[in-house]
Symmetry: C3
């Protein structure tokens, strides 16, 4: 029987998302089943940048949708100013090594069929509608998350 890993992706930081998606892709290649549950800031990782609906949004929701990064590569680092090293520097270092970007890893995860879920309550609070998320993302409840996590061999909160 396949082993399972469940990642609760709370953070919307570039460096944490990179780590989560590298783990997820590597696990999937090892035949480990992977579910990522995107909650809170993590929702910013599964926005559909080409589909932002202004309809049915409150003033706050519109403001939020417009103020937060629309594209993956624009997400900040968890330590923006850590020792003065900025996001630009990290990305240059990654480019030097021809390391894939966050977008590459996310696309890889989608192609590999990694299960992606968005937290229903987070979507409601932040005002994200199903059509504003990537196609493969399913909106589920905290109860669904817990059921999947209980069946998993590894659970991480990132």
């Amino acid at each position: 029987m396949n082993k399972k890993m469940n990642i609760l992706m709370f953070s919307g930081d570039y460096d944490k998302a990179l780590t989560a998606l590298i783990l997820a892709n590597t696990a999937k290649e090892m035949d480990i089943e992977v579910t990522i549950f995107f909650a809170f800031w993590g929702l910013l990782l599964v926005r559909n940048p080409n589909s932002m609906s202004e309809e049915d949004k409150t003033a706050y929701e519109k403001m939020f949708a417009n103020m937060t990064p629309r594209y993956l590569e624009d997400l900040p680092l968890s330590k923006m100013n850590f020792a003065g090293m900025g996001k630009k520097m990290l990305k240059e270092m990654m480019e030097d090594k021809e390391a894939p970007t966050l977008t590459d890893f996310l696309n890889g995860a989608i192609e590999k069929g990694i299960r992606m879920q968005a937290c229903k309550l987070s979507c409601e609070i932040m005002g994200f509608k199903q059509n504003e998320l990537l196609d493969n993302v399913e909106i589920v409840t905290a109860e669904d998350y817990l059921k999947d996590a209980l069946e998993s061999n590894i659970q991480l909160f990132i």
Copy 2:
């Protein structure tokens, strides 16, 4: 036999605490046994706002007790300035949806009998006495945490 979940609550951030307590409450409703071990900044979630003892405190402990938020609703976001979205905006968005506050979720957890523990070493370093914590919170060691975590099906560090 009941399934178990153990949360090590390290962070004192409003958004992370909200996520932890929603998971804890949902799990308990699913008959999953839940233990939350509050360490470091997490201790700020289980302060008794009506009982701050100045006795037996060093100068630093007094300063710390007075400078940190006394009330749950005053805790900061993990991303205070994330894309310029402040705490106020999040709380307004939650109110719009009539979502419960952090205080509501903590009270729910207490009523449901979710086990709450405070890290002994953290209490010692930060100078928190038993009477400064909520009544249902028991002070335990890292060893006690590990024993509970070992018996749990899900362990999260938040």
Copy 3:
């Protein structure tokens, strides 16, 4: 058979590292096998302060090596400005209680034979060579991390 704990140490923050190493040392004393996998900022915890090689480094790697803290005790707090409480204050409070420092806990972990691994990809991106890490640290892949985590009873992302 021994129980196992696996910690993925992503953060380079003083307070989070302290928590991770206290858990690791306590677990080891309880005969729990412990592996710590240092990735991303976590690599800063296992630098060898006496061995920094400028050779074979790109301009960015040199800049990064010189701008990030060389010594454990110089690592920042995850909440540097949390309620105005700085790192100095925490360290004074720890000294008052004669609590060991982060360096003490790391040395304890090394003496106890806690397995320490550095993430290969993180080393490559940040330009850390084997001789720039502490002697007991082995460079391994994300796949190695996952194998160890799968066999562990507790997995934490810190």
